[in-house]
Symmetry: C2
DNA sequence: TAATAAAGTTAGACTAATCTAACAATATTT
DNA sequence: AAATATTGTTAGATTAGTCTAACTTTATTA
């Protein structure tokens, strides 16, 4: 059985090697990370990560050689994915059933994700009607730790005059989530890009009969999908 | 913030000093416990309890002097009660919402009870419609850690020919819970005592149109209440 | 390529929670 | 009351996860 701490290392490795900058890395297979980077991400000292990397290697959860990079083994990836599955299912529960705000659920899920029970998570999954995305729009890994990330683009990439729907946010900081809440935008909402101003990169969007001018700080962090590109990598939206 | 372990010590102390044998102790104020007893209950060595007792004393959670008994302070009692509140609310959730069996919920609640969030527990309480008892029929402490144990008697004490309803079980062992499940008896079910045989202490009961002969091992561990004694200490049932 | 910077490792220390083994205090029994 | 049994304490060790400080390896740059 994995400890609380070991699980957090595996989760962090999944985030850093599979999710972070996934568009840049796409297809490059650069799924490894340095000791310093992981240490910074987990807010511990590099020395601590060095130690832990050795321990995780013994348990065959990571591939790692002294002075080398760290990467997840198949087993390690699966375990990390399961932590993320639990995290995202709990977030969905807190948001949908207990009426928590978008910006409150992450912290609670950080604790709840460490409850180990496959049965519990499968029951919760069923209770929530098998959601595909959590309240931030991130995909929820299935029972086997598999995740099928649909092709996503940011709102910045959508052409003028096109419509799309918001499916996720890229920035999970409380400030960002509070802003999105404030303007009244929600997952699954339809957004129309009315005008894109090249000069200062401001975009005028419309959703729910409201018009709003937003900056790249916003558009870069909203993931969208349009009806036609749901399953297609090429799409003109 | 209390650690996982500290919380378990406080919970155990509440169980041993307030709940266990509460009928015997009633009114005697003997709410203290020895090092060996607590060690046996927690399945650790007495040496460990000695150490922890000193630490908990520093934190003003227990009263304790070297070679003396351990008892909870007001603060310690409240913290312990809150752990029990969380445990019982989670059990209720697992049983009512996720359709877990009676005998599966305890173990999961042992983990869930350590998630600290007052808001989470209050929301869950609301979601469950403010239950007074958990699935085992034990009272759930309120937001302030207060518990009002209603007057309970065991099925053994009910006179021949009287009816009562089951409100709790005294024995939470898996074997016992499985047996209760097997015979199809549930919290709130009405039970009629048809016959009591003094010779071998067997009792014939009826519930849901079924008749069954049970032993003291059973009747001693079923708590009941009758309509007339709900709020009265004296009752002829 | 040699010097410097960045990245990573090792040794030794700390804390919390546990153990064992030896010892001390208190309670019980003859 | 002395002997014995029960109960509780202390000292020293262990493990996981962390730290700091000193050191080593690898990468970058002048």
């Amino acid at each position: 059985m994995l400890s609380f701490t070991e699980e957090n290392y595996l989760k962090a490795l999944v985030q850093l090697t599979f999710f972070e900058n996934s568009r840049q890395h796409e297809g490059q297979g650069k799924s490894e990370v340095g000791v310093n980077r992981l240490a910074a991400y987990l807010d511990v000292k590099p020395a601590t990560v060095s130690d832990m990397a050795r321990k995780l290697k013994v348990k065959e959860l990571v591939d790692y050689e002294k002075y080398g990079k760290i990467s997840l083994t198949e087993l390690g990836k699966k375990e990390g994915m399961m932590v993320i599955r639990r995290h995202r299912l709990w977030e969905t529960f807190l948001y949908q059933k207990l009426d928590f705000n978008w910006d409150e659920i992450h912290e609670l899920a950080e604790e709840l994700e460490h409850i180990h029970s496959i049965k519990l998570m499968n029951r919760l999954d069923q209770f929530l009607d098998f959601p595909s995305f959590d309240p931030h729009g991130d995909a929820i890994p299935d029972e086997n730790g598999e995740i099928t990330i649909p092709f996503r683009r940011t709102l910045s990439e959508v052409k003028e005059g096109k419509k799309c729907k918001m499916i996720a946010v890229n920035d999970n900081s409380i400030e960002f989530l509070k802003y999105v809440d404030k303007i009244g935008l929600k997952i699954e909402d339809e957004i129309e890009v009315l005008k894109k101003e090249d000069f200062d990169a401001l975009t005028t969007i419309q959703f729910k009969q409201k018009q709003l001018v937003v900056s790249p700080k916003f558009t870069d962090n909203i993931f969208v999908l349009c009806a036609t590109c749901l399953n297609a990598k090429e799409c003109d939206c």
